[in-house]
Symmetry: C2
Subunit: 384 residues, 2 copies
């Protein structure tokens, strides 16, 4: 039986997500928005019976068993951790910092019977499922290089807000780069151990953001990741990513993996391959002719990835009689909160690299940093 | 009147160059090869009346007024400097080191009346001439990013040789990257002041290179250049370049420049553009249907660039009655030996960066390094 859903957020993703949920048979019972007005407006548009600007009203809602959190990164941790504490299943977007991500991991570990997945994933997209399968089967031989680019229009909201602020989790690296970092770890079954990057904000002011206000979030970013796998399989793989959001028009979303025996290229949602012997690319997976919702701010792979995730959620829940129970199988490939922490850690290492100019190590947080850490150190120094 | 030509080299470029020279009306009088056999073989194939393995036989040849040098980088400096000293006009490929490049600059400065240009240039290709013109005219607005990729088959010769050796000037960065570095400085009218890069040799052995022999030259390289222009125009431009020569099949040669108002993209020899307002790319310069010679080891932009250069050489020389005289106009856009030194300096800075992992400054050599430098320092230290 499908659980009732509560949605947090009134942005582009929430606007796409609700119709997708409904078309898979989920009932969306409640919508949360930062202001009563935003919530009311979108609830009316999407025909959601209850709306509010108080998070508890959704979290404690009787009919809500699954909470989908698509809100500014700086608010994600608080809602996600609380939802798990109340016993709700959680699908959410990334948090703003590694510390937040770590707290979410702690909560997810504490409630292992609850579903907790990162919910803006390219992993579910059939294109990348097929790509990963072909990589495992050895289509490209020994993997050498991942070469990825995403070009698109500005990610800034119309009005000044968190999308303009690097420290609030805005910017191409945090928003789109994070989905790429996750995707690469999924495709290569390896993690970045060293990264290097450069971030730029070419457009610091525009028609709606001016005066004393300036954009601090990146609109251009390239980064490199050196991967190290569990086996020898993906060790030594070099990954280069170019993100450019000063290119109005439709998104370019290209993921290429090159190995000793061939290559695979995902252009948008289409998958192409070429083995070293052959003269031409072959189409391995065509465009399925998307007829679902579209928004300007999201690329087709993102939207269709979201759609595939919702399908997987349906399969996961409908296997069970009880509304809150779910089967692991259909969502086994989903990124966990631990994957979310890894991604956040890589994002922060790339930002450090952009400042230091050096290769930075990716070191996953193992315990929560003590807020009194500096104080303790000072005290200890005094004692000595 | 067109000068008689002597060609150094029996490789892919020489093989393409000779027919191009002939079709523009140049007479190729002499061919030099490293071995008598190589020279004889290609001379017969290309119908060149004289061949030799002794460089002086070409340099001192009565009918030769223009020398085209397309030989392994480590040999280039010696022949180029000698040719200028004998009073011949010189078109040549890059040298192996910055010191060699510097010596070539010194020779070119000493004989300013002689033609001395770097002869494997993309600058002459109509695609890039048009791109540069559109950049000056402001098609893309304020330039922000250059994003360039060249993918192709292995650059290694069949047998073990200089192409396998990094120190001999082999590898994707030195061979193809150098043409891109030159192109970017032509397009942006700026030079790299800081660079960062990573080189890899994924294929260290193959069917013909094995046993104790290993390839040391890079088959994969990405690098970033931060540009600084004379004016403010191209300051702050970020340039990212990805080179991958583990991709058999036809070359991918894509040069994209992105600015505040639009972008220009050269795919192969075709030029596309998109202004920020418009929804679609427009074709600005189509493929002219190349019917000249082709070789597997060179991309179409390289071959057609060579062809355009030969055309410019014809225009430059035919303006004058005297065989050795030439007009500056038609070859004004050609890279000089000073440009060659700049390119070589950038190549070496990128290699340093790949080792150090850090951003490296591009510092052009201003005086020849004293071979006794270390000795002098030691003596001075002793004195103190």
């Amino acid at each position: 039986m499908l659980p009732g859903v509560g949605v947090f957020g009134t942005g582009a993703t929430a606007r796409v997500l609700v119709p997708l949920l409904k078309s898979e048979g989920f009932e969306v019972h409640a919508l949360w928005g930062r202001s009563e007005e935003e919530a009311s407006c979108l609830a009316k548009e999407l025909d959601i019976p209850f709306h509010t600007s108080r998070s508890d009203d959704v979290l404690l809602h009787q009919e809500v068993d699954l909470v989908c959190i698509y809100i500014p990164p700086s608010m994600t941790r608080q809602i996600a951790v609380k939802a798990l504490g109340i016993g709700k299943n959680v699908v959410c977007e990334k948090a703003a910092t590694a510390v937040d991500s770590f707290k979410m991991v702690a909560a997810a570990r504490y409630y292992p019977q609850l579903l907790s997945i990162m919910g803006n994933s390219l992993r579910f997209l059939p294109t990348f499922v097929a790509m990963q399968k072909l990589l495992v089967e050895g289509y490209v031989g020994e993997l050498q290089v991942c070469d990825i680019r995403v070009y698109g229009p500005s990610l800034l909201d119309e009005a000044y807000g968190w999308t303009c602020e690097e420290l609030m989790g805005g910017g191409g690296l945090h928003t789109i780069g994070s989905t790429i970092i996750d995707l690469v770890s999924f495709l290569t079954r390896a993690r970045a151990h060293r990264v290097h990057g450069l971030l730029r904000t070419f457009v610091q002011q525009n028609n709606s953001i001016r005066g004393i206000r300036r954009v601090t979030s990146d609109d251009f970013c390239f980064f490199q990741m050196l991967m190290s796998g569990k086996g020898s399989c993906s060790s030594g793989v070099c990954c280069t990513v170019t993100l450019n959001f000063n290119m109005p028009g439709s998104f370019v979303h290209e993921v290429m993996v090159v190995g000793s025996a061939g290559r695979l290229i995902a252009r948008g949602t289409e998958l192409y391959g070429q083995r070293n012997g052959s003269k031409k690319e072959e189409l391995l997976l065509g465009d399925n002719g998307w007829s679902g919702p579209e928004v300007k701010a999201m690329s087709l792979p993102q939207i269709q990835g979201l759609s595939s995730m919702v399908k997987a959620l349906r399969q996961s829940f409908q296997a069970h009689e009880e509304r809150r129970s779910w089967a692991r199988g259909p969502v086994a490939m989903a990124p966990t909160f631990e994957d979310g922490l890894y991604v956040q850690t890589v994002v922060e290492a790339i930002k450090r690299s952009s400042t230091s100019g050096e290769w930075e190590c990716v070191e996953i947080m193992r315990e929560e940093p003590d807020p009194n850490h500096n104080l303790c150190e000072a005290l200890q120094r005094n004692k000595m």
